[in-house]
């Protein structure tokens, strides 16, 4: 059976996913399921985060020290791992947001120039 290298196929989105996760966690501490749901809701059901990339992303952010995790009881009284933003994560979020603004406005400019020509 050929192996799906999920890591590689999501390379392009990886940075974006990190940003989304950080932004979501900036609101309140949340477990993985909650993060996925929140992103889906806030994007108007456009962005569906697959579990195959969500948990690697969460763990990666945790190893980098941007988010921290602890086990708490969930709304329905189950033990769940809640992630929250650390101070370093907050700083990271700020730079990522700035970076994203720069990138999206740059892309917008390019697209606008193309529009004018057409």
């Amino acid at each position: 059976m050929p192996r799906a290298e999920s890591n590689q196929s999501s390379d392009l989105l990886q940075g974006t996913l990190d940003l989304l996760v950080l932004q979501t966690l900036a609101l309140e501490p949340m477990h993985g399921w909650g993060v996925a749901q929140r992103i889906q809701q806030h994007s108007g059901e456009v962005l569906q985060v697959g579990q195959g990339s969500l948990y690697p992303a969460l763990h990666r952010l945790e190893y980098k020290g941007w988010i921290k995790a602890d086990w708490q009881s969930s709304e329905n009284n189950r033990r769940a791992k809640f992630y929250s933003l650390t101070a370093a994560g907050r700083r990271r979020l700020a730079t990522e947001l700035k970076e994203w603004d720069r990138l999206s406005s740059a892309i917008a400019l390019v697209l606008k120039a193309g529009e004018a020509k057409v």
């Binding site: 890591n7 399921w33 579990q51 195959g52 763990h59 189950r78």
Partner: protein, 897 residues
């Protein structure tokens, strides 16, 4: 420590199960949400699972992000590899053993040959330095004479500079430091241009000034570092000091670097200015000038061949000046200084290097075929692992870990082996190979050898896993691709061929060595002790003083209990004597016979002995009489010829009583007004006198009379060094102290060297013994490895064909038939390897020619014996595993796997 490890492990496991919990929670949330939206529980569960995708994959991906993941993998691989080795110890042990031998032997041998072949000379740009001069049959080491040196120096073009150091006549350039505690030193006279040509600067002070190198110049000297260190305790103010050298106040002007050495490696403690007068060189030493050794620095871009060609006209001019009969005997020599230093050690070193490279080749081929065989055997395993989801990278890492483990083990063992081998080499090495005693295990070499092994192992590990795992490998029992099999066939053929070459070389050397040991010396060595004393010449200024010492010492030794006889001689066979003691065959004329027409430049050895010499060494006098002590007088010299010389001078016999006249080569020398009369007393049997491997040379013995004529020309001067030969009834070790005491009673300053003659002869065979034993060792290793390789291959192939054998036997094939079938395959490889090896050794063993004694380099006997032996052992190595295979019951064979 252990508890900490346990806690660590627990945390690890915890985090693993933590991830599982987290994923399970996610799944439950998903299911609950779906149920809440109206799905049935079963459907909700199914849909959630589909949505989630591969749980295992998500878990793995997350896992891989852990900081310690790689390390964990490595630990797993390590454990896996060790388990594999334990299960198939044959592979691991063989591989480690082979790599150990390869690494150990290469490192040890390279450490030995490195100082000989590649040692940088301690001069600036030492590779541009050449040794040049003329050589002839009496002196094969190039030399020069003051009579033509200055012409050469003035007219030469290929060199930046040309310099010399004074060659010593018979004894080293001795001088005495005649201060409070006098010591004997080596003072080498050199010109002002000497140090600049070598590119050496004194670490303290300066080189000689031009005016210090003029005749009757001031007495100055430059110290060696060792002398400065030992005698003057590195006194920084040494330059202000004046020392007494041979009772002459001498000013010290410089100190040389610690690593400085004379170009011909002769001992030295001090350099003193040569202060030669070019004009006087045409008159001193019978008009030919003082002997010297030349060293020159090539101009940039000039090759040695060009230099030789450019020096040719100068040489031809010099040749005119040599007497016509012997002119053609002289040759111009220009060669790298390194060659001059190393002489024939060079060839031995290269042969050693080639031999060890062969061994390395065999080891490499063997390791390669082992890894390749293992890779093939593991095709199924790899395919299973790949099917279970192991990535290519993971499998590769695993193979590399295995290779790394094996090479590391081999590297450790190899270094230990190298140390042991080097100790053995140094123990059996002859002292005549320069710098060998300084050989150390070279860490660079060890590193290179280990890296090479690692590279080799990794390469084959990678190659064996790179082949995409085929589905077929999962089900089939088939062997791997035929291309890999062919490679292994080639490797086996190469191993057999190379080990045949090694083995025939080794057998040739062993045979030559045995010839050398077995030959008759023509004299007895048992119970003979040589005692050498080095008299400080400044304490013995006259021939009379020398004579007194030697005669008193002889009498003292004679009275020792256990000593039955004592004789004096200036040298002992079978060692080769220096040319200064020789004369030329055509310089000897029989009185009353017309001078012989044919010219011969053969050297004739001259030995000055007392009559008892023949008794002690038991050399029979085959015609005439031995010398008698009363014969010596000033007007007649008494000779005993050896049989060889007698036969040449007097083909019809009756040499006894004839007279010989010596004609001098040098026309410039004044004709002798009253030629001494030389009487032949007798003829002695031949003795090995030109080294163990040399042809016997013509030789005559000169009576060492007890009288003193004081004239150095007629050979009866006592100046110089003599040896005592003692006939002893007790071993040398037990009488040495008594001998030393007796000599010390006469002159306490004199160093005494006591050596049994059998030991001296034994030492002479050191070099061939060294060469023969080393090459035998390598050949043995090569053969063992080649056999192991062949055995491994056959065993492997047979295992692969176990089922086939079972089918054949079930169908009724006889065991012999199967045996023949499989054996034939191996036999082809063996025959091919032996064929190639025979051709290779026929063309390669001539390299050994100069090392062989009474054995032809293409000795058919040797080649046939080695080939037969190799074929037999190889067949045995092949038949054993095949035999084991066909003895298996057909049913078992069919069920196998």
């Amino acid at each position: 420590m252990l508890r900490l490890l346990d806690r660590f492990r627990a945390a690890w496991r915890n985090s693993r199960s933590g991830l599982d919990d987290e994923l399970r929670f996610h799944m439950q949330q998903s299911i609950e949400q779906k149920i809440a939206s109206g799905m049935s529980p079963a459907e909700a569960r199914r849909s959630a699972l589909i949505e989630f995708g591969g749980i295992e994959a998500a878990r793995e991906t997350t896992y891989r992000l852990r900081p310690g993941w790689l390390l964990e993998c490595f630990a797993d691989d390590l454990r896996y590899a060790l388990r594999g080795f334990r299960r198939a110890p044959g592979f691991a042990i063989t591989t480690i053993a082979i790599l150990t031998l390869g690494i150990g032997a290469t490192t040890a041998v390279f450490s030995v040959v490195d100082p000989i072949l590649f040692r940088p000379l301690p001069y600036s740009h030492g590779d541009r330095l050449v040794s040049l001069g003329i050589s002839q049959s009496l002196e094969r080491q190039e030399f020069a004479l003051g009579g033509f040196f200055f012409d050469w120096q003035a007219a030469q073009r290929p060199f930046v500079s040309l310099t010399y150091d004074r060659a010593y006549d018979r004894n080293p350039n001795e001088c005495g430091l005649t201060e409070a505690t006098p010591i004997q030193l080596h003072c080498d006279p050199v010109p002002q241009s000497f140090l600049p040509t070598l590119g050496v600067n004194p670490i303290l002070g300066r080189n000689f000034l031009p005016e210090e190198d003029l005749p009757r110049g001031p007495h100055v000297a430059i110290l060696s570092y060792a002398l400065w260190n030992s005698r003057f305790h590195r006194d920084p103010n040494i330059l202000q000091r004046t020392i007494d050298l041979d009772e002459t106040p001498t000013r010290i002007v410089g100190v040389l670097p610690a690593n400085f050495e004379m170009p011909r490696l002769q001992p030295f403690d001090l350099l003193v200015p040569a202060q030669l007068d070019p004009a006087a060189q045409h008159t001193v030493n019978s008009g030919i000038g003082v002997p010297m050794w030349l060293t020159a620095r090539l101009r940039p871009g000039v090759s040695i061949e060009q230099a030789r060609a450019e020096m040719q006209p100068l040489f031809l001019h010099t040749q005119q000046w040599i007497p016509a009969p012997i002119r053609s005997d002289f040759h111009l020599v220009v060669r790298p200084l390194r060659d001059r230093q190393m002489q024939d050690s060079y060839r031995a070193a290269w042969i050693l290097l080639v031999a060890v490279l062969f061994v390395l080749l065999i080891a490499g081929a063997n390791a390669a075929s082992l890894f390749s065989a293992r890779g093939a055997a593991r095709q199924r395993e790899l395919a299973v692992r790949a099917a279970l989801g192991a990535s290519r990278r993971r499998i590769l890492m695993q193979s590399l870990t295995e290779a790394l483990l094996l090479v590391l083990a081999a590297a450790l063992a190899g270094c230990a082996l190298a140390f042991a081998l080097l100790r053995i080499f140094l123990y059996i090495a002859p002292t005549s190979i320069p710098f060998l005693a300084q050989a150390r295990i070279d860490l660079r070499v060890a590193t290179v050898a280990i890296l090479t092994a690692l590279l080799c192992a990794s390469f084959f590990a990678v190659v064996s896993t790179l082949e995409p795992p085929r589905l077929a490998a999962l089900t089939a029992h088939k062997s791997a691709g035929s291309s890999r099999l062919r490679i292994r066939h080639i490797l086996v053929v190469a191993q057999i061929a190379v080990s045949l070459v090694l083995a025939s070389g080794a057998v040739l050397l062993v045979k030559s060595f045995r010839n050398l040991e077995a030959q008759k010396l023509g004299m007895t060595t048992h119970g003979v002790i040589s005692v050498q004393v080095d008299l400080n010449w400044y304490r013995y200024r006259t021939s009379q003083a020398y004579r007194d010492f030697y005669l008193r010492a002889e009498a003292a030794l004679r009275s020792l209990p256990g000593i039955t006889n004592v004789a004096l001689t200036d040298s002992l066979p079978p060692d080769d004597n220096s040319w200064h003691q020789g004369t030329r065959y055509d310089a000897m004329h029989v009185m009353g016979q017309p001078p012989s027409r044919q010219t011969s430049q053969d050297a004739v050895i001259v030995r000055n002995v007392t009559p008892d010499y023949f008794l002690i060494l038991q050399i029979p006098i085959i015609a005439g009489n031995n010398f008698t002590d009363t014969e010596s007088n000033a007007n007649a010299r008494h000779f005993i010829l050896n049989a060889l010389l007698a036969k040449r001078l007097f083909p019809n016999g009756n040499a006894v009583g004839q007279r010989i006249q010596f004609v001098t080569d040098n026309p410039k020398a004044a004709p002798e007004p009253d030629p001494t009369i030389d009487i032949i007393d007798g003829v002695a049997a031949d003795v090995k006198n030109a080294g163990l491997s040399g042809q016997e040379s013509p030789e005559y013995y000169n009576l060492r009379g007890r009288g003193d004529t004081g004239s150095p020309d007629n050979g009866s001067s006592w100046n110089g060094h003599f040896l005592f030969v003692l006939s002893s009834q007790v071993p040398a070790s037990s009488i040495a102290a008594a001998i030393e005491t007796r000599i010390a009673a006469i002159d306490p300053m004199t160093p005494v060297t006591i050596q049994p003659l059998d030991e001296m002869v034994y030492r002479l065979a050191d070099r061939p013994r060294f060469e023969a034993s080393l090459l035998s060792f390598f050949a043995l290793m090569g053969i063992i490895m080649a056999i192991v390789g062949l055995y491994g291959l056959t065993a492997y192939l047979t295992t692969q064909r176990t089922q086939e054998i079972g089918i054949r036997m079930a169908l009724g094939a006889g065991r012999v038939r199967i045996l023949r079938l499989i054996t034939w395959q191996g036999a082809r490889l063996i025959l091919l390897g032996v064929g190639i090896g025979t051709c290779a050794s026929l063309s390669l063993t001539h390299m050994l020619r100069s090392l062989l004694f009474e054995v032809a380099p293409r000795d058919p006997e040797t080649l046939i014996a080695v080939t037969l032996l190799l074929v037999c052992v190889a067949f045995l190595a092949m038949v054993i595993p095949v035999r084991a295979a066909i003895l298996v019951e057909p049913v078992t064979a069919l069920r196998c796997e």
